[in-house]
C-alpha cells in the first residue's frame, strides 16, 4: 500500500531544521562522533516539561513537532517510533545513582524517563493524542518495524500516522564502545573515503519523524511505496534475490530505479555486501550516501528516509551526497541500509 509523505522533521548532525536550503554545504566532523545540531527548545516545549526532558527526548520530540507542523495535520491516528538503544543518558544517570547512593531512596525521574517508549509517550502527551502508540527497539530494524506498523494501522483505517526514530550518543556508552574499538576517526567526511572503506564506524545520532497517509495531497513530498526487512542473509546473492523480488512485487525492474540511497558507513567489512550489490545491480543508478552526514547508529536509515523525501520534492540530488553517476532524475528511489547484517529496503517514488 502506498503512503504519501506529508510532513518531515529531522534533527541531526547537519542543519536539517529551520533550513529552507537543502544541504547547501555540509558540516564536516573530525574525530569519531557526530552530535546533533540542536535548536532552542523554548518554542517547542513549556519550561515545566523541559526541565525533565533529557537531550534525546528534546531533540526527538522537537523533530516530531516539526514534522507535524510541516504537514499541517492536527489529528493523528497513530504514533509509531523506533529506537535501537532507547534512552541511554537517562539509563546511565539512574545506574550512576544506584552505584553512588548509600541511602535507601533514589531520584525517580531518570528511571521514569528511561523506558524505550518515553519519546512516543511524550509526543502523545504534548499533542493530546490517545491513538495507537507503539515503540520498536530492534537494532537496524527499529525504524523499519515502525514503518511497517504505520502501514498496518493505515490498512485498518488510520489516515494520518506519525512515524519516526531516534538514537543518541551518551557519554558512558560511547566510552565503552571506544574501548570495544568500534570507531574510526572521520577523515573530514570525504565521501570518496567511503568507497574504499577502512575499519570502524563514525558514531552518529539524531531523530527523524514523518507524517504518512494513504490520502494524496497537494503538497506531498513523495510516496513511500513499500518497505521490507530481511534478517542475516548468507551472502550478496541472497541480498540480490531479495532486492529483485521486492522490486518485482512492486511491479518494477532494476532499470526503473533512478537513485539508490545506500547505508554504506565506511567500515570496509560491513560495507562489503553493499558495494557488491551496487556493482552487481546498480551500475547505472545515481548512488547516494548519507552516513557521512549523520554518522552510524541503529536508526540512521530514518535520516536516509528524510534525505529521500527531500530529494523527491526538490527533484534534484545534492552534489554533496552523490558517490557516483550524476545524471538521473529522481523518479524512483531505492534506499538500501545494512546494520550489523540486519538489511532493509525502502522504495520511494515522486508524486
Amino acid at each position: 500500500m502506498e503512503l504519501f509523505i506529508k510532513g518531515i522533521g529531522c534533527i541531526s548532525p547537519q542543519l536539517t531544521y529551520d533550513n529552507p536550503d537543502f544541504l547547501p554545504g555540509i558540516k564536516k566532523y573530525a574525530g569519531n562522533r557526530m552530535m546533533c545540531i540542536e535548536p532552542d527548545y523554548a518554542p517547542y516545549f513549556d519550561a515545566g516539561s523541559l526541565r525533565r526532558m533529557s537531550r534525546v527526548v528534546k531533540f526527538s520530540a522537537a523533530a516530531a513537532l516539526i514534522a507535524l507542523k510541516d504537514s499541517g495535520i492536527t489529528q493523528l491516528d497513530a504514533i509509531t517510533t523506533g529506537t535501537g538503544y532507547g534512552l541511554l543518558e537517562n539509563s546511565e544517570k539512574f545506574l550512576k545513582s544506584m552505584a553512588e547512593s548509600t541511602g535507601p531512596v533514589l531520584s525517580p525521574t531518570s528511571f521514569i524517563q528511561s523506558t524505550h517508549n518515553t519519546v512516543g509517550a511524550t509526543i502523545a502527551l504534548i499533542t493530546g493524542c490517545n491513538a495507537h502508540n507503539n515503540t520498536f527497539s530492534h537494532k537496524g530494524f527499529s525504524f523499519e518495524s515502525a514503518l511497517i506498523d504505520a502501514r498496518l494501522m493505515v490498512a485498518e483505517g488510520a489516515t494520518h500516522v506519525l512515524v519516526g526514530a531516534h538514537d543518541e550518543i551518551s557519554e558512558k556508552t560511547f566510552a565503552l564502545m571506544e574501548k570495544l574499538d568500534v570507531f574510526r576517526n572521520n577523515n573530514e567526511a570525504d565521501i570518496n573515503a567511503y568507497e574504499k572503506g577502512s575499519s570502524g564506524i563514525v558514531a552518529g545520532e539524531g531523530a527523524a519523524f514523518f507524517i504518512l497517509s494513504d490520502k494524496k495531497g497537494e503538497s506531498d513530498y513523495g510516496v513511500l511505496m513499500d518497505n521490507i526487512i530481511f534478517y542475516h542473509p548468507e551472502n550478496a546473492i541472497e541480498v540480490k534475490q531479495h532486492i529483485e523480488a521486492f522490486l518485482e512485487k512492486n511491479k518494477l525492474a532494476l532499470e526503473n530505479i533512478d537513485v539508490v540511497i545506500s547505508g554504506i558507513n565506511g567500515d570496509a567489512k560491513e560495507d562489503a555486501v553493499s558495494h557488491e550489490i551496487n556493482h552487481l545491480l546498480f551500475a547505472h543508478q545515481t548512488i547516494v550516501l548519507f552516513k557521512h552526514l549523520c554518522g552510524e547508529y541503529m536508526t540512521a536509515s530514518s535520516f536516509g528516509f528524510w534525505l529521500a523525501a527531500k530529494i523527491l520534492l526538490a527533484q534534484q540530488v545534492p552534489e554533496t551526497v552523490i558517490l557516483k553517476n550524476r545524471h538521473r532524475k529522481p523518479g524512483y528511489i531505492l534506499l538500501y541500509n545494512v546494520f550489523q547484517n540486519d538489511h532493509s529496503l525502502m522504495l520511494f517514488k515522486a508524486c
Binding site: I79, G84, Y85, G86, S91, E92, F94, L95, K96, M98, A99, E100, P104, V105, L106, S107, P108, F111, I112, Q113, S114, T115, H116, N117, T118, G120, A121, T122, A124, L125, T127, G128, C129, N130, A131, H132, N133, N134, T135, F136, S137, H138, K139, F141, S142, S145, I148, D149, L152, A155, E156, K172, L176, K179, L180, I229, Y231, H232, M298, D342
Partner: protein, 397 residues
C-alpha cells in the same frame, strides 16, 4: 480473516512450563517470595516473583550459554516450548519472531556498570554486548532457526501484548503465515531500584484490587503464543482451541507514569478490542485484569471497566498476585492464562483480596471456579507512558 493460537510456552515464578503453571493456578499457589538471585542494594530485600533457578540452571534448560542475559534464557525456554506445543514444521512457512522486553540485557549491564561508573573499571566488557532489546531477540531467533521476520517491541508493561497484536496484523495482511509472539523480562536491580524510587512497591505480598493495597511486587518470566493464519490452522495436527478475536492499543496521554483517574487510555483500549471482536459486552466471560496492586492502576482500571460494562462487570481477577508484575512479559504470560481459562473452563482467583475497593461496584473472584463455560476473555496490560493494550481471546467452536 481470523488468527488462531496453535501453541503456548511460559515460565514464571509459578511454574517452569505450562503444566506446572496450571497446577499452581488451580492450587492457588503464589510464587511470590524472598529474592535470592540479586544482591547489592536494599531494594533486593523486597518480595518478588522470582524464578527459583540460577542462570546456569536456566541456561541448561534453554540450551544456551550461561553467559547470556537471563532475559534471553527465559525467552528461549518459553519460545521453544511454544513452538513445540504448536507442533508445526516452520520450513516453507513465512514465520516471524516478535518478542518484547523492557529489561533487555540490563541484568548483565548493570553488574558491569556498577564498577565502571564507580571507578572506571572495565571488567568483562563482553557482558554489555547483548544489552539492547534486539540483541536478546536475535539470540533466541538464531537458536530457534527463525529468519524470515524478527522484531522487538518495548513499551513498558504493555510490550508483549503489543507484540501479539503486531504479529496478528502481520498475519492478517499476509506478511507472515505464523509468528511466535510474546515477551520476556528478567529481574534486575535497575528495575527493582527504579520501582522502589517510585514508591509503588509493596513491602509485603501484593494485594491487587484490595482497598488497602500498598503497591506491586515485581516478577520475572516469559510467555509466548504461536499465532497462525486460518490456512495454517487448518493443516495442524492439533486443531487450535482458541483464537485472537480483538485487540487495541490506546494512549492515556495524561502523565508519564500515572494513569488518568478515569482510566481514559484503559477505556479506549478495551473499547477498541471489543469493537474489533464484534462481541457484545455480555459475551465477555472473564477479564484478566492488569491489576498490579498499585493505588493508581487498580482504581483507573476499575473505573474504566465499569464505564464499559456498567452494572454487569464479568468475572475478573488479577493473576499478578500469583506471579508478581512481570513487566514486559506480562502481556504474553497473561495471554496464556486467558487461554487456559478457556481451555480448562476455569476462572483463576485474585489472591489475597480481603477488602473490596470502596470506589468500585464489582469484586474480582477470590476462589478458583471450575466447570465454568469461558468463551471470551479480555486481557489488559497497561504500561508507563500511558501505553494501554487490551486483547480478546475466544473459544473456537
Amino acid at each position: 480473516m481470523e488468527v488462531y493460537i496453535a501453541g503456548k510456552g511460559i515460565i514464571s515464578a509459578i511454574g517452569l512450563n505450562v503444566e506446572e503453571t496450571l497446577q499452581s493456578l488451580k492450587a492457588g499457589k503464589s510464587g511470590i517470595g524472598t529474592q535470592t538471585n540479586l544482591t547489592g542494594r536494599r531494594d533486593s530485600n523486597l518480595p518478588t516473583g522470582e524464578i527459583a533457578l540460577s542462570n546456569a540452571e536456566l541456561a541448561s534448560m534453554a540450551g544456551l550459554s550461561a553467559d547470556y542475559s537471563r532475559t534471553a534464557l527465559l525467552s528461549m525456554i518459553a519460545a521453544k516450548d511454544a513452538l513445540a506445543d504448536a507442533d508445526i514444521n516452520i520450513k516453507g512457512l513465512k514465520c516471524g519472531f516478535i518478542s518484547a522486553t523492557t529489561v533487555g540485557g540490563m541484568d548483565k549491564t548493570e553488574k558491569f556498570m556498577a564498577s565502571f561508573i564507580r571507578d572506571g573499571e572495565v571488567k568483562d566488557i563482553g557482558r554489555i554486548l547483548y544489552h539492547d532489546s534486539g540483541a536478546i531477540t536475535e539470540l533466541v531467533a538464531e537458536a530457534l532457526g527463525i529468519k524470515h521476520f524478527v522484531s522487538t517491541i518495548s513499551t513498558a508493561c504493555s510490550s508483549s501484548a503489543n507484540a501479539i497484536m503486531y504479529a496478528s496484523r502481520l498475519i492478517k495482511t499476509g506478511v507472515l503465515d505464523m509468528a511466535i509472539a510474546g515477551g520476556t523480562d528478567a529481574m534486575s536491580l535497575f528495575t527493582l531500584s527504579g520501582f522502589n524510587a517510585l514508591m509503588i512497591l509493596d513491602e509485603n505480598y501484593c494485594t491487587p484490587y484490595d482497598d488497602n493495597r500498598k503497591g506491586l511486587n515485581l516478577g520475572e518470566g516469559a510467555g509466548y503464543v504461536v499465532l497462525v493464519s486460518e490456512k495454517v490452522a487448518g493443516k495442524l495436527s492439533k486443531a487450535p482451541a482458541v483464537k485472537l478475536t480483538g485487540y487495541a492499543n490506546a494512549n492515556d496521554a495524561f502523565h508519564q507514569t500515572a494513569s488518568s483517574p478515569e482510566g481514559k487510555g484503559n477505556y479506549l483500549a478495551m473499547q477498541g478490542a471489543l469493537k474489533m471482536s464484534g462481541l457484545e459486552i455480555s459475551a465477555i466471560d472473564y477479564i484478566n485484569l492488569h491489576g498490579t496492586g498499585t493505588a493508581n492502576n487498580d482504581l483507573s482500571e476499575g473505573m474504566a471497566i465499569q464505564r464499559i460494562f456498567g452494572e454487569r462487570v464479568p468475572k475478573s481477577s488479577s493473576t499478578k498476585a500469583f506471579t508478581g508484575h512481570t513487566l514486559g512479559a506480562c502481556g504474553g504470560i497473561e495471554a496464556i492464562f486467558s487461554m487456559m481459562a478457556i481451555e480448562q473452563k476455569m476462572i483463576f482467583p485474585n489472591l489475597r483480596l480481603k477488602t473490596p475497593m470502596k470506589e468500585l461496584g464489582f469484586v474480582p473472584v477470590t476462589e478458583l471456579m471450575e466447570g465454568v463455560e469461558v468463551k471470551n476473555v479480555l486481557s489488559n496490560s497497561f504500561g508507563f507512558g500511558g501505553n494501554c493494550s487490551s486483547l480478546i481471546f475466544s473459544k473456537v467452536n
